[in-house]
Symmetry: C2
Subunit: 225 residues, 2 copies
Amino acid sequence: MNDRLPVIVFDVNETLSDMSVLGWSFEQLGAPAALADQWFARLLRDGFALAAAGDNADFAVLGRGNLHALFDRLDLSCPTAVAVETIMETLSGLGLHADVADGVKALHEAGHRLVTLSNGAATLAESMISAAGLRGYFDLVLSVAQAPAWKPAAAAYAYAASACAADPADLLLVAVHPWDVHGAARAGLRTAWLNRDGTSYPGHFIAPELTITRLTDLPRALVSR
Amino acid sequence: MNDRLPVIVFDVNETLSDMSVLGWSFEQLGAPAALADQWFARLLRDGFALAAAGDNADFAVLGRGNLHALFDRLDLSCPTAVAVETIMETLSGLGLHADVADGVKALHEAGHRLVTLSNGAATLAESMISAAGLRGYFDLVLSVAQAPAWKPAAAAYAYAASACAADPADLLLVAVHPWDVHGAARAGLRTAWLNRDGTSYPGHFIAPELTITRLTDLPRALVSR
């Protein structure tokens, strides 16, 4: 265990942003709401496949490509190209989960440096936290677009450590996705799993050091260690 | 272009096996048929994440883990553990697509060596092609369990080339999955995309050398090159 106050590295999609509105957007277009989850799983599947193959994909390109593939099979209320851009706009305008603002402020108050690290574009994260008035709490807003590979490849977390001028062991990743916790742990970071919906942690990924159900619980969880 | 008669490397899941029966199995358990696709996308997402992180996962472990995660949210007609094993049994007993037997025989007849390369267990592929009376047409039944990593990591295809005592350029991968075509092409193999359902090839993956809609068209497609 490392006693230094860790730099908190936030995942962005679903960890900070509330993606539940996407289901509603799919429905407005005449697609099943459940397709939103399937789209995001496929987007990640392709991004991870490309990372495993040695490539570093553009998140938005994979987003659009998979929307086209899913929408081409459906009879939507508008042309496919319009529907694709509608979803990409929804993705660009997502708000934060209800626990994020207070959690971010409490972690800042406790003296932690805060950064974000997304497989998506840094501009999306920038605009989302800026719109919520939280940009000033974050030292850096990072994207794997500047790294050699997507998370959960080790090189993505090493890039974040380097950008923070810190050892990987002085970083603590917070994410809702077990694959992100796994990759961070394997790259030598500390980890907290944000389990908002009370699911079980999959046994096939490295278990997190900490598990919290709300971001606002993280400062106390870190002190109790 | 390489003029030598290529060794044909078949992907297994969905390329040889007909997974459409899984939707029916999900329905029998009281789950939506569409969950079958979502399950398989999540299984691959986790396997590729682990490959990107430097791990080599067990296909069945990821299959069971993701079934548990999906079934825990639902009110099924039997206990979750029973439902999970029911789907895993369905997966173990899949039949071949209608075009596979004739395609395999025609490729053998044309003088090609035939092998399989699966992210799943070799035993599953063995029993499936044996049940169809086709085992004798295949030189090798390979799994990435014996390789350093899952497809589409380059090491998976290099393992197949080594097992065939052939150069990667003397292998031709046949797969329904664009991510597999991409990884194989990047690893120096020739590629054929088996596009049975008439979808578009995603622009974010390296395009295949050949596109066929039935396996029985592959011998002719190879001769026309």
